[in-house]
Amino acid sequence: MTLLALAALAAIFSGSLCGVLGYYIQRFGIVTLSFSVAHAALAGAALSLVLGADASYLALATAVSFALVLGALSPRAPRERELVSMGFFSLFNALAILMVYLSNVYVLSSATVAVVLWGSILAVTRAKLLALLGVSALFLTYLTTFRSQIDAIVFDRRLAEAEGVNVRLHTLAMLLFAGGAIALTLKLTGGFLVFTLLYNPVASAAKLARSARGQLLLSPLIGSASALSGLAASYAFDLPVGASIALVSSGVLLMSYLVRAFADRRAMSRLARGAG
């Protein structure tokens, strides 16, 4: 399989996985927690520059370990979650920059650092693609097995907890899947932009689809389309792949807001005409 085909498949699968995960992360109310998990992965990938180990696996190890720590701390109040997340976000960013500084690479444009910071299609291997497929299959199995409990949390987290759903365990599971997806997507998008695929597609879907089911179906479609289009733009114009994906998905998000605003305005004027 050619490098480009591998990268295209990785873009489609990571876009879809992150799109679905992003929906649940947003509905579970753990966006900022997953944001700090993404930066734990970045710190792990940056650590690989110092240790000379594989960036994806170190990112996976730090993201998963940190997700477990968050699960143990289990901050319940939304405000507390925000504060804890932003504290860790700063810490992991600082660690990542420190690791880049301590590594043996002297210029930021060197290939090794580029993979960690803004991604590269050259970094996608058959093994990483299979790992991504494995995590996707595991996540789908998890969603299918615990569908009702997960839906109960999505509908009302507090009520689900009061009814004996193990909200803490499912939150931890979501963070672990987020850690896995982020670590495996990181080489394609780069550490600073990996969160784009988790957040932008679901935000766009929330603007374009009214029903929860519609959002859940649309989010992975937007995610994979953004990742694939970003990859194509990067290839065509010789741009960093992570930045290209982030720009495309930000463009889609902006368009979604405009489409929603236009649709709302039209609906309102139709209502006003009807009333008149």
Binding site: S148, D151, A152, R158, E163, N166, R210
Partner: protein, 222 residues
């Protein structure tokens, strides 16, 4: 359900929300917790359910300490109707799905679960609302959906926080009667928090009056 010298404080509030509260509620009774705003009624209910942990004292639900891991299992035998139940207009879950989600951990098969949903909807008189998105329902209708969800679970303990707040007078009386009948038929316990005592006053076995985070009076029907 038992509270033993329980103190509960919210993080950063500087003062306890409930102070040295002790209460024992046996199975098979209907209890009304009443008092003015800020008396600690909702805090008391959420402490009994283990959603809030005591900073001092001990809370037991169905014999399980609410600080222990077993509380998750104990909650599966309970139902809860929260005070803040209103969903945004764009919430697309149908009333039927909302009630079904209450059975997420139930061993019932799909057919039996569907029948249970129908039974609960009939009890609350909301059969015709089942296929409507919950966000499009009025406050009173949404509240009935939540109460139907609570009943559909056939719990041993019902926790109801201001369950009459959005209902009209007729519905209040009907819902209060349905709760009483459920308690009688199943030997369950209902803990009803309400500042409006009129719908349930004649139906409850015990009245707990709270003020300033303390229980100031407990009255039992002779």
């Amino acid at each position: 359900m038992r509270l033993e010298g329980v103190w509960v404080a919210y993080s950063g509030s500087g003062r306890p929300a409930i102070v040295d509260v002790s209460l024992s509620v046996p199975l098979g009774v209907m209890v009304l917790v009443t008092g003015p705003n800020g008396a600690g009624k909702t805090t008391l209910l959420e402490t009994c359910l283990g959603l809030l942990k005591p900073v001092r004292g001990r809370a037991l639900l169905l014999g399980v300490d609410t600080r222990s891991r077993g509380i998750v299992e104990a909650r599966r035998r309970c139902s809860y109707v929260p005070q803040d139940f209103m969903r945004a207009p764009h919430e697309s879950y149908t009333a039927r799905r909302v009630i079904e989600l209450g059975l997420a951990l139930s061993p019932l098969g799909a057919k039996a679960a569907a029948e249970r949903v129908e039974w609960a909807a009939k009890l609350l008189g909301i059969e015709d609302l089942l296929d409507r998105p919950i966000g499009t329902l009025s406050g009173g209708e949404q509240q009935k959906v939540y109460i139907a969800r609570a009943m559909a679970r056939r719990p041993d303990v019902l926790f109801l926080d201001e369950p009459f707040s959005s209902l009209d007078r007729e519905s209040r009386a009907a819902v209060a009667k349905a709760i009483r009948e459920y308690v009688n038929e199943r030997g369950a316990t209902a803990l009803v928090v309400s500042h409006d005592v009129s719908p349930v006053l004649s139906l409850v076995d015990t009245i707990v009056r709270m003020s300033g985070g303390k229980i100031v009076e407990v009255g039992r029907r002779a």
